[in-house]
Structures are given as C-alpha cells and as structure tokens.
C-alpha cells in the first residue's frame, strides 16, 4: 500500500486517465528505455523506503516484530482475528501480571498473544512467568514445549502497547488466498511502473 501514495501530489501527474486501456498501451509503446529505467528506480526507492521504515521500527521498539496480526480468538472480546497490535520490547521493562505479551514457544514460528497471569522473579532479575488467553479456560502450559512449565524473558517478542481493529485482515486474506496476494502485487506493480509523471 505504500507504493500508491508516492508522487501523486505533483501537479499534472499522470496516472491512468479516461479511456484507460487504449491510452495505457499507447503509453507503453511510447515509453523509451530511459523512462522505463526511471520508473523502475522509482519503484525500487519505494520498496527501500518501506523496508527502512520497518527496520527503523524494529530499532525504536526493541522488538523483532513490532507490528503483529492477531490470528486466533483466544483473547476475545478484547482482540479478534485480524486486529493489529503494536509492540515494544524494552530490555528494562519488567514483566508484570496483567500485561499482554506476545511470545514464541521454542521451536515454533507462530507468536502467541496472551496475558501474563503469574510472575516469579528472583533478586538477580531472573524471571519466569505463566500466560493464559482471556478467552481460554486453562493456562498456556499445554501450548509450551514438552516439559516446559514457564516462559522466560527470552521467549518474549514484545508487549502489546496499542491496537487497531480489523486492519490486519488484509494480511490474513493474503495468506489464506495466495492468488489474491499475487493479483494485488501485480496491480500495484503495474500502477507504479506505468504511471507517468509529466
């Protein structure tokens, strides 16, 4: 979605006018190599900027995944599938009961968003804690690794600090329907490559 906004503020910027299809192919034929390279560079710049923003967020929040999408209903009615969560993972932030944390079980890829319900912290800073989804009857011990009874700081991806509803649905749809993802990418790519700035 980052691609669509760029450059459209310039006066007289092209984009696809009325009688679109015929104009489009006309434009294509008339575009010389130079213009094509220019468009490709433009596109590459957009992609790089998006990546830089993402990396910047990782640095600023201290979390390897500062924005996550809720995949299950285990935290309803607070969070539903498709909601977006913003995380921070500052090293000095203590883990306390009641906080919503996103963690990864060792050996599994998918992070889980649940609430901390038990904390035992030693004087030297060693913490072990237990989590449970608001909408689940039992705590998460069944989700942890075989024989694992507690989570540790190293398992934490981040703490949920803010949230936006529904916005993450796009990611879920793209995951479940890959054809949709390719179609979306194709449309975005075509738009950026063919858009002409006069």
């Amino acid at each position: 979605a980052a691609a669509l906004g760029r450059g459209s503020g310039r006066p007289g910027s092209g984009g696809i006018r009325g009688g679109a299809a015929m104009d489009l192919f006309g434009d294509l034929r008339r575009m010389n190599k130079r213009q094509l390279y220019y468009q490709v560079l433009n596109f590459a710049m957009i992609v790089s900027s998006a990546l830089m923003i993402w990396k910047g967020l990782i640095v600023v929040t201290g979390s390897e995944s500062p924005i996550v999408v809720v995949l299950s209903g285990s935290m309803e009615p607070a969070f539903h599938r498709g909601d977006l969560l913003f995380l921070t993972n500052f090293h000095d932030d203590p883990i306390r009961a009641g906080e919503i944390v996103v963690f990864k079980v060792e050996g599994r890829d998918i992070p889980i968003v649940h609430r901390v319900i038990k904390v035992h912290e030693k004087g030297n800073g060693n913490i072990k804690f237990l989590t449970k989804g608001d909408n689940n009857e039992v705590d998460d011990r069944g989700l942890y690794k075989e024989g694992q009874n507690w989570l540790e700081k190293k398992d934490v991806v981040g703490r949920a600090r803010g949230f936006l509803p529904y916005v993450g649905m796009v990611t879920i749809i793209m995951n479940d329907y890959p054809k949709f993802k390719y179609a979306l990418l194709a449309v975005m790519g075509a738009y950026v490559l063919l858009k002409r700035e006069s």
Binding site: P77, A78, F79, R96, A97, G98, E99, I100, R115, I117, K118, V119, H120, E121, K122, G123, K128, D134, D139, A160, R161, G162, F163, L164, P165
Partner: protein
C-alpha cells in the same frame, strides 16, 4: 475498594497452595478506587467513547525466600462498555490456583492483594491501571489438611 479475606494454606506436591476468599466492592465509574486522582482534569467517566472493555484482575503480590517478587492473578473479569460499573462481589473464591513457586506462603505475613485493570480501547493505546485500594493478607504458619473447596 474494600476486600475482606480469610485464608488457609495446604501443601500440594512440593509447592504451597493458598486459598483465599474475598469480597470486592468497587465503583469503577466514580473514582472511589482512586481513579479520580489518576485522571485528574479529564472527565470522571472511565468508560468513554473509545473504551471497548476493561479487563479487571485481582492479583496477589508478595516476596519469598525463593523469589524476590511474586505476582499471581487470583481472579479476573471482563467488564464491557454498558455493563454495570459497580462491583459488589462477596465470598468469592479465587478463580485460579494460588500456587507459590516453592514454599513461600507458609508463615508469609505480607501478601498484598490489588485490583487492577487493562483498558482496551476501540483503537489506540492499551494502558494498565492499578486501583488505589489494596489489602494486606497474612498466611498462617501451619498447613491445613485438605478441606473441600
């Protein structure tokens, strides 16, 4: 916020298990639990247009020889916008087992029970607020043999 508790401990395997019964009286809207001072000039209404729900929880915090800090959530409740903001619960048993990591409950004189809540907005920041009232609870020095609970 007022809480009254009676309690006794029982050993389970190798860890102490505490049993607590409590009453909770809280008035979330009108600031009897200290919310008024926290929000200062903003309106007294905690359930404003951007609040979807409050996740309330009663947690016990204490220190033991084994661990400098322990926090255990004993009870929780989801209060949706539109629900009655006054809580008046009597003789509640803890929803979750109050296990210690070790044997730190026996003879522990200072267990602090606090009511806190997580504000879940329709969109935006997720703050955690601690109510101002809290109650200190001592556990006895001896174990009780299993009682029906």
């Amino acid at each position: 916020l007022r809480k009254n508790v009676e309690d006794f401990t029982g050993p389970r395997e190798r860890s102490d298990l505490g049993f607590v019964t409590f009453d909770i009286t809280a008035d979330i809207l009108n600031g009897e639990n200290g919310l008024q001072t926290f929000w200062k000039k903003s309106t007294l209404i905690i359930f404003d247009w951007n609040v979807k729900q409050l996740f309330l929880y009663l947690s016990a915090e204490y220190s033991t020889k084994n661990n400098a800090l322990n926090q255990v959530v004993l009870w929780d409740k989801i209060m949706l916008r539109g629900d009655n903001p006054r809580l008046s619960l009597k003789d509640m048993k803890s929803k979750y087992f109050f296990f210690d990591d070790g044997n730190g409950l026996k003879g522990n004189r200072n267990i602090t029970l606090t009511l806190s809540w997580n504000v879940v907005p329709n969109a935006g920041i997720l703050p955690l607020v601690t109510g101002s009232g809290h109650v200190s609870v001592p556990f006895p020095d001896t174990y009780e043999t299993t009682k029906s609970y």
